[in-house]
Amino acid sequence: MDPNLMGTLASVMSASAIGAAIAVLAGSFTAIGQGNIASRAIESIARQPEAKGSISTTMYIGLGMAETGGIYGLVIAFMLLFANPLVNRFIEVAGLGG
């Protein structure tokens, strides 16, 4: 293979990996939100211990909803790492595939 093209391919692959790492960072904000949810739930359980059952049920639903943003970032990272759309596109454009 042409060493020039190979260098470009390597840079596309590394850009995919860096992009995946940045996409996973979406999880940090999810973590902040989930921490808020849990702390508020604990506060309300402390205020009304008899409503513990329904509060924790609602809390789990809220945690599940808040998780969605982080999961989207995770799915994008999986796509960049395992489905390799950018690398495949580069191979197609450069005509490297057999």
């Binding site: 049920t57 789990y60 639903i61 945690l63 599940g64 909803m65 998780e67 969605t68 999961i71 989207y72 995770l74 799915v75 999986f78 395992f82």
Partner: protein, 228 residues
């Protein structure tokens, strides 16, 4: 280190090659387990006794708990959905914890979770039309007809977020565990992964099965609720 969905074999039907994947294998194993359980209960409890005991107790407890759960999250008039969602809950739960038994969890395949979420989507829309009738279409253009595309996108985002939530949780657990098994030194492969198995397979699995069911049910409940 390999966590792609492996092909086990293929056969040909009329010139079309049909592949059998790991997902299908574990799906059929779980289906077999559930069907066997159902058949055992059906045969053993051919005559229901007034005073339950043993197996009948367990079966009644499961069904009653789930019926109450459906009633709490979706409402009285949607009780018939309990049949379908009990099945979904049992299937998703067994799928999520099947990673413990050397199977590849079927829910770590997006096609499986999207199929389940698509049924929820169809149920959300059809129950909305059935119980709210004209109000359902009026709510699509509320507060203004400019919001119609936004509302439609919001409806279509639901099955996608439902399926990605389940898929992402289970797939990330599977990938992390297989990475640890292949990267950790041998003496760390004995006890250390047990804690991770407990968290990713048992805790996250049970929680995600619960969240999937309760979110689908409450979406349907909200969609079917007649507001003023």
């Amino acid at each position: 280190m390999n966590f792609d969905i492996q092909n086990i074999g293929s056969f040909k039907i009329g010139g079309i090659e049909v592949w059998i994947t790991e997902t299908q294998l574990s799906t059929w194993i779980i289906m077999g387990l559930l069907i066997t359980f159902a058949l055992v209960i059906r045969v053993k409890l051919n005559k229901f006794k007034d005073v339950p005991g043993g197996l009948q107790n367990i079966a009644e407890m499961l069904v009653e708990t789930f019926d109450k759960f459906v009633k709490d999250s979706a409402g009285d008039k949607l009780m018939f959905l309990g049949n379908w969602y009990f099945m979904v809950f049992a299937f998703v739960l067994l799928s999520n914890i099947s990673g413990l038994f050397f199977l590849r969890p079927p829910t770590a395949d997006w096609t499986m979770t999207f199929g389940l979420a698509l049924v929820s989507f169809i149920l959300i829309q059809s129950m909305g039309i059935r119980f709210r009738k004209k109000q359902f279409f009026k709510d699509l253009i509320s507060p203004n007809f400019i919001f119609l595309p936004l509302n439609i996108i919001g409806e279509f985002a639901r099955p996608i977020s439902l399926s990605f939530r389940l898929f992402g949780n289970i797939l990330s657990g599977t990938i992390l565990l297989s990475m640890i098994y292949s990267l950790a030194p041998v003496f760390l492969r004995v006890l250390f992964p047990a804690a991770l198995h407990f968290y990713f397979d048992l805790f996250a699995g049970v929680l995600q099965a619960y969240v999937f069911t309760v979110l689908s049910l409450s979406f349907i409940g909200v969609s079917a609720a007649v507001s003023d």
